[in-house]
Amino acid sequence: MNKPSIAVHKFSSCDGCQLAFLNAGEELLTLAGLVDIRHFLEAGVADEQARVDIAFVEGSISTDEEVERIRRVRENSTLVVTLGACATAGGLQALRNLDDSHTAWKNAVYAQPAFIRTLDRAEPVSAHIKVDFQLWGCPVNGRQVLAAVRQLLFGVLPAVVHDKVCMECKRQQAVCVMVTSGKPCMGPVTRTGCGALCPRFGRDCYACFGPADDVNTDALSQRLEGLGLPPADVARRFLFITSQAPAFHAAGLRHYRPGFVDD
């Protein structure tokens, strides 16, 4: 029997999510025995045009070239799975979408802006092609990625994680940082998958796994304001790493005013 083939494609991103594969240790060897890795630059395998059963895509779509390339990935792949916050919800770079400040930022940041050929907007992969499954996180959780691979190899779509971080926080017996110290935790609206990593270390969740299902962003916004956060900070809590996820986008924009710095 032919081994299923996979590819790992990189778009506008930091490469951190691909490391979920490289950091898998022994499991990476197991994976190499189970699948035929046809394209994965970080692992030194290059065949961008390879036809594969499963393509993992890291990064948002941020340039003309990427718009073309993601279409080819779709044509060449049976399943497309996004890997992490950039591919799934735009990532940090999508903050430039908020107030059409792309050109102003480009001119301010780069010595030779003329050489920078970026689109005005950075968008999630799903804005350009059909995506079969999304893995969230900045970065993704390596164990979750491998569990998804296993399920795809069984021929089923991976189970979708519905729960909010609070549920996992409680299963891990972490103590709620919002309740004990008034930290502006995003756990009540954020999809779990990280294992409640931040609250377990006494930090407030900053929503890198994007919105959970059935979120009540208004109720959380109100609570954040009650904790003393000015509107700019409430907006920042939603418009951060997963700003293009519709629930967070809408919630953030309710508090966001273009151009505001700090109240």
Partner: protein
């Protein structure tokens, strides 16, 4: 029946811990950790939260230090007995495939290496334990729960320091521990009135140097408990809201509370009586082994009401209503009493401070009966 055993001087409290360790228990007690009072392994009395007290309000918990020689001058923290018996996540069974493709299933032995002795348990948590026993032992006969429950030794502390969120007096479950423990302690400044409530409890007392209890001590202890009951200002409208709630499924308050509720499941997770769980499988990457897992679920999570192909309770309004009508209503049909023991955890640990007593009172306002 709880019976007075004697007075244990504060300086001798260590002998109680030593005695439990000597009897082979893993001893768990309250300690200050992560800005809260949590149950942890202990072996020295110095680990207890000496001089700490708590300030609890809807959505808020703060510890502070006060001038007292006492170690139990606080109300329950976030952890109940529940996680020790109904584990937040555990493997129920495993399966492995051999080279011929045959599957071999194997059981997981849930028996702990040592039985647990928990020191500092409050009346509400004993009442919750009795309810979890009804569910996991009488109702579903759960071997995982049973294995951990079997050797459990409980040292209760009568609760003289209820938090503002507590309402055990109104559910009839506290503040005095009356049943379900092995030992019960009244804490006074200079020591503890020790009561024994089981043969094992009496046996532990035999190894302690106990003095006679005088009437002043007895009076001080009892007064503190009556005062503790009086200090509680939250209450449910009735101990039986079955008909009251089920007759008000269309009450506008459900919509109102849903606008504030995050559907985060914190309340059900900290509730010492909630028992819902989800099961899933965790196959190894090569697909040759798998573990069958059980983990805490909540009526607030999307997966809980997802049947094949459709969502039974898509709206937060329906999920909050499910929690309240089950906890305070249909538990009566299932277990002969309400599922709430008045511990107040769901109020304190709700990130937005939703108060179950306020909601129940708003919905059943017209059914309020006088508290005894």
């Amino acid at each position: 029946m709880i019976k007075e055993a004697g007075f244990l001087a504060r300086a001798d409290l260590q002998t109680l811990l030593d005695r439990l360790h000597d009897l082979g228990y893993r001893v768990i007690g309250p300690v200050v950790d992560d800005a809260a009072i949590l149950y942890r392994d202990i072996d020295r009395v110095e680990q207890l939260p000496l001089g700490y007290t708590d300030d609890q309000a809807p959505g808020s918990y703060r510890l502070s230090q006060v001038d007292t020689p006492r170690c139990f001058a606080w109300a329950d923290g976030p952890h109940a007995l529940k996680p020790f018996l109904f584990a937040p996540r555990e493997t129920m069974w495993q399966v492995a495939r051999d080279s011929d493709g045959r599957l071999a299933f194997s059981a997981v032995d849930p028996r702990p290496a040592k039985a647990l002795a928990v020191v500092g348990v409050r009346a509400c948590d004993l009442a919750a334990l009795a309810l979890q026993d009804r569910h996991f032992l009488d109702h579903v006969n759960d071997p995982y729960y049973e294995a951990r429950r079997a050797g459990l030794f409980l040292v209760a502390v009568h609760c003289a320091y209820p938090a503002d969120t507590c309402f055990c007096a109104s559910t009839g479950d506290g503040p005095r521990a009356t049943t379900g423990c092995d030992l019960a302690l009244h804490e006074l400044d200079d020591g503890f009135i020790v009561e024994a409530a089981s043969p094992r409890g009496h046996a532990v007392c035999d190894g302690l140097s106990l003095r006679a209890i005088d009437d002043d001590q007895r009076r001080a202890a009892n007064d503190a408990l009556s005062e503790a009951a009086h200090r509680q200002f939250r209450r449910l409208p009735s101990t039986d809201l079955h008909n009251g709630l089920l007759a008000r499924l269309d009450h506008p308050r459900w919509e109102q509370v849903a606008s504030r509720c995050l559907a985060c499941g914190s309340c059900t997770s900290v509730c010492p009586t909630c028992f819902c769980h989800a099961e899933s499988d965790a196959p190894s990457l090569d697909g040759n082994d798998s573990e069958h897992l059980r983990e805490w679920d909540s009526c607030f999570s999307a997966g809980h009401a997802q049947l094949h192909g459709f969502q039974v309770r898509p709206e937060i309004r329906q999920r909050y209503r499910q929690w309240l009508t089950h906890k305070l209503g249909s538990w009566h049909e299932q277990y002969g009493r309400s599922g709430c023991v008045g511990c107040g955890r769901c109020i304190t640990w709700c990130p937005v401070g939703i108060d179950i007593t306020a909601e129940a009172n708003a919905i059943c306002a017209d059914t309020i009966e006088e508290a005894p």
